[in-house]
């Protein structure tokens, strides 16, 4: 390791650092989340922090922001020691934070969220009108456009993140912490974000960026720190390191950053979709005639900005279309048509017939967070004959099965009694992937397989998906990560506004080409599109069926 671990205590140079942490430790019960952390972030730089899931990155930043109290250690802001007891202190010291899980009030408007906690007086009206003005200025200055009167739940994730950034800027943050900001963004949105961050840096603001994506680290940061198991293992200048080296520092072993796969050997068609349409319960048409085929031994990747109907497509194929929606069209699996509504349309039934489904949201759908790992391994397959007799479940059989899966998928910690909640995001995902892949489904639906997952786990999950393909199964992969789509898929379809905009082969596709399709522009016809997914448009603008 050619990297010099710089563990604090070194004499400060002339200009005080924007942030200096000295010996920060924090334990949650018996878990040591941060252990004697030293960190120095120079003013006017972008500082990256990387580390595996659960390494303690979010905890460290939450301490800096006053959300958690450290057990010991010292914080210096602009050279001044500061006791940060709550977020108010941090805000006053010019620290702003965009959390990994946004801290927004879903049914409040953007404006209300912005002023929450920094209102100018007891009455709202003056604060609101002032904020409206400031917001307009900020929006122009940083190209952060959001409708101030829209409620959060109507915004796409990307826009929600803008609100979080605006919140920090409105509080006049000098030091901005972003915790995995790009996990939910499209490449274009991420690029936009980075342009903003660069602008902020140019103004002399300091930025701390947590991410799992080494490409981003290399692209934008000035310095980078690596955390492992609660400790700070290295801080280096970005220019002096490489992705391979960082990955190794992070995981503690060599990591393959590219998917290794042989060319596909497509077989007979497994999934055939013809003219699939879906109208949701408020009358908006979310799918506008989808036609797709997937063959055995092939991965079809669906690229697209989230909110363009991918979720609805996965739900319909998974057997649980949105409540109150009407679905029409034809879907065949292995030649047999699927019921698209009524009693035959049932996720359990689909599973029995050889469908696997890794859902987009593992915490809300894929797992019961309070169930133990072994119970989650049976979740969705709890009716399977090998898991019990008659109405009774055979716990021993399930546990045996779960232990095997956990071992084979390297879930950490390898205990099947721990509640899903207490695994890190990456390991939660491994449990879901193990459950769905190991059943050898003829058709596997996958939504966002690696969102928020660290590179070690990504490598592992990708390998398993490719193995399943090579075993001759059909795979439908939905992801907002273009990198992931391009490296995993055998064919790429791009979805926009409930339609398939076009199909490409990965070897012929370019990011620019796909990006245009994702924005609703067909390069062939060059029909202009506004690039805004429908969920952000006013619903009235959309054509209705009845």
């Amino acid at each position: 390791m050619a990297v010099v671990a710089q563990n604090g205590g070194r004499p400060s140079p002339a200009a005080p650092a924007a942030i200096e942490l000295r010996g920060i430790s924090k334990a949650f019960g018996s878990v040591q989340a941060n252990r004697d952390i030293h960190l120095r972030v120079e003013r006017g730089t972008i500082h990256g922090i990387i580390g595996e899931n659960g390494a303690g990155k979010s905890t460290l930043m939450s301490i800096l922001y006053g959300f958690y109290k450290p057990d010991s250690g010292e914080i210096l802001v602009n050279g001044q020691p500061l006791t940060i007891t709550d977020s108010q202190t941090a805000i006053r010291a010019g620290i702003g934070m965009v959390f990994q899980h946004f801290k927004l009030v879903q049914n409040f408007t953007v404006l209300e969220n912005i002023i929450l906690g920094v209102e100018d007086g007891r009455l709202l009206r003056p604060s609101l009108s002032k904020a409206r003005g400031v917001l307009r200025r900020l929006a122009q200055e940083y190209e952060l456009n959001v409708d101030p009167d829209e409620t959060i739940e109507e915004l796409s994730v990307g826009h929600q993140q803008r609100v979080e950034i605006l919140k920090a800027l409105y509080r006049q943050a000098d030091i901005l912490i972003l915790d995995e900001p790009t996990g939910v963004l499209t490449p274009a949105e991420a690029d936009h974000l980075f342009r903003i961050l660069e602008g902020l840096r140019a103004e002399g603001k300091t930025i701390i960026l947590i991410t799992h994506k080494l490409r981003e680290i290399m692209e934008i940061t000035d310095t980078v720190s690596v955390m492992r198991r609660g400790e700070m293992v290295a801080s280096v200048k970005t220019a002096e390191t490489s992705p391979e080296q960082l990955a190794e520092l992070m995981v503690g072993r060599k990591v393959l950053l590219n998917v290794q796969k042989a060319p596909a050997q497509p077989g007979k068609p497994i999934l055939e979709i013809r003219n699939l349409r879906m109208v949701d319960d408020s009358g908006v048409e979310r799918l506008r005639g989808i036609d797709l085929d997937i063959r055995a031994g092939e991965i079809l990747g669906i690229a697209g900005v989230s909110g363009n109907g991918q979720t609805q497509l996965l739900e319909i194929l998974g057997g649980y279309p949105e409540k109150g929606s009407t679905v029409s069209g034809e879907v065949r699996v292995n030649g047999t048509p699927l019921a698209l509504s009524g009693a035959g349309c049932n996720a359990a039934e689909r599973r029995r017939n050889g469908l696997g489904h890794i859902p987009e949201d593992r915490q809300a759908e894929g797992l019961i967070m309070d169930f133990a790992a072994w119970e989650n391994v049976a979740f969705g397959y709890h009716d399977a004959p090998e898991y019990g007799r008659g109405p009774l479940m055979d716990r021993d059989a399930i546990r045996r099965d779960a232990e095997g899966k956990i071992r084979r998928f390297d879930v950490r910690p390898p205990t099947c009694d721990l509640a899903a909640r207490n695994f890190s995001g990456g390991n939660q995902q491994k449990i879901v992937v193990a459950r769905e892949i190991e059943r050898n489904p003829d058709l596997l639906l996958i939504g966002q397989p690696t969102r928020g997952v660290d590179i070690g786990a990504i490598e592992f999950i990708h390998k398993r998906i490719v193995e399943l393909r090579d075993a001759g199964k059909a795979i439908l992969l939905v992801s907002v990560e273009l990198d992931e789509i391009m490296s995993l898929s055998d064919r790429i379809a791009v979805m926009f506004d409930g339609r398939i905009m076009g199909e490409r082969l990965p070897q012929n596709a370019t990011v620019g080409d796909l990006g245009l399709l994702m924005a609703g522009v067909d390069p062939a016809t060059a029909a202009p599109g506004d690039g805004i997914p429908p969920s952000q448009k006013h619903l009235e603008d959309l054509p209705r069926d009845h």
Partner: protein, 364 residues
């Protein structure tokens, strides 16, 4: 990753909470000018000091087990069934109708028949709120509250106008036939050759209640249906993803819940009163909420909590019967026990956790 050993969490915490509740109760007793020592010994003596006291304690506990289990089962499907009171009342009606209309020659036949009647009526009374929740999204808390009132009115009408023998002052049904009288635990003890709990109402229903605990435990933690109920209760979107039908689970959970609440009637109506009286449930449905929550929604916990409340009920009853302490003191004591063991448990747990953590650190 536990902060403290399981035994400390499961046994030490409630025990200390209980002691705290009793200490405050003692202060209340002092404040109204009575002696806490006398009160405590009267209660313990009256409820646990003799087979006689135990007979009553177990009788009340039987009621609370049924209503506690009822609340618990619904709770696992994240349905808050406040309607135990009405469902138990309707269960009583089911028992009365079965026993008064069918010529059942022996209790061994009458008991299963009455159980079916009780469970059916209780379940039926839970069915409408369940359906409204599943299909129309009407909040189950409101509808079950309303159904308690409606049950009271319906029962009042039925008892006064339909089931009451003419000329009787008492708005109560006729007595059930002698052949259907359930064996009391005291009779069973006598048959085994010793005297236990003479003239106490505890009867064979107690064993039914214990069996119900076991069955409910099996249902919730050992069957596929129970798995679905718990999964649905924890996360509805996940249940949908897994192919669990929300309507079906809501209905089943509420039917089981209502059936359990209704089954309480085999204890109080069939076993004790041997006829249906007005207000036979006497608030057991509401105590079931406390029992389920205190029992941490586990049948064993429900059983223990029901025993505790049976003890409080009987001990308190004795207190009011044989001392000058007003009977409302019991309600205060119950309130304090619920408060300290159910809601203020962290007040005890947090320092304990810190203690154990410190101990472990020193040990390590």
């Amino acid at each position: 990753m536990d902060k403290m050993p399981k035994w400390a969490d499961v046994i030490l915490t409630p025990l200390i909470s209980l002691v705290l509740a009793m200490a405050i109760s003692a202060l209340v007793i002092l404040a109204i000018g009575e002696s806490p020592m006398v009160a405590l010994t009267t209660m313990i003596d009256g409820a646990l000091g003799s087979s006689y006291g135990w007979g009553f304690t177990l009788y009340y506990a039987t009621n609370f087990i049924f209503t506690g289990l009822a609340v618990m089962v619904a709770y696992h499907a994240s349905l808050f069934n406040i309607g135990g009171e009405g469902q138990a009342a309707m269960g009583g009606l089911g028992v009365a109708l079965v026993l008064l209309s069918l010529p059942l020659p022996h209790w061994a036949l009458a008991l299963p028949a009455a159980m079916i009647g009780a469970a059916l009526f209780g379940a039926a009374w839970a069915l409408i709120p369940a359906w409204l929740q599943a299909r129309r999204g009407s909040h189950i808390v409101i509808t079950t509250i309303m159904f308690n009132f409606i049950a009271a009115a319906a029962l009042n009408y039925i008892l006064v106008n339909l089931l009451r023998p003419t000329g009787s002052m008492d708005p109560a049904s006729a007595r059930f036939p002698d052949a259907t009288h359930l064996p009391k635990l005291s009779d069973m003890a006598l048959a085994l050759g010793f005297e236990w709990g003479k003239n106490t109402p505890v009867n064979i229903s107690f064993f039914v209640a214990v069996a119900a605990c076991v069955l409910v435990w099996l249902l919730i933690w050992r069957t596929r249906l129970g798995f679905e109920i718990r999964a649905f209760g924890k996360s509805e979107p996940a249940a949908l993803y897994a192919g669990i039908n929300p309507v079906r689970i809501t209905m089943i959970a509420m039917l089981v819940s209502g059936g359990l609440a209704g089954m309480m009637a085999i204890n109080n109506v069939m076993g004790e009163a041997e006829r249906l009286v007005l207000n036979a449930v006497e608030g057991a449905g509401f105590i079931g909420i406390a029992v389920a929550l205190m029992g941490r929604n586990h049948p064993l916990g429900v059983f223990l909590a029901a025993l505790l409340f049976g003890f409080l009920y009987q001990g308190g009853g004795e207190l009011a019967l044989w001392t000058t302490i007003p009977r409302e003191l019991i309600i205060v004591i119950q309130a304090l026990v619920i408060l300290f063991t159910g809601a203020l448990d962290n007040m005890v747990r947090m320092p304990l956790e810190r203690m154990f953590l410190a101990m472990r650190k020193r040990g390590a």
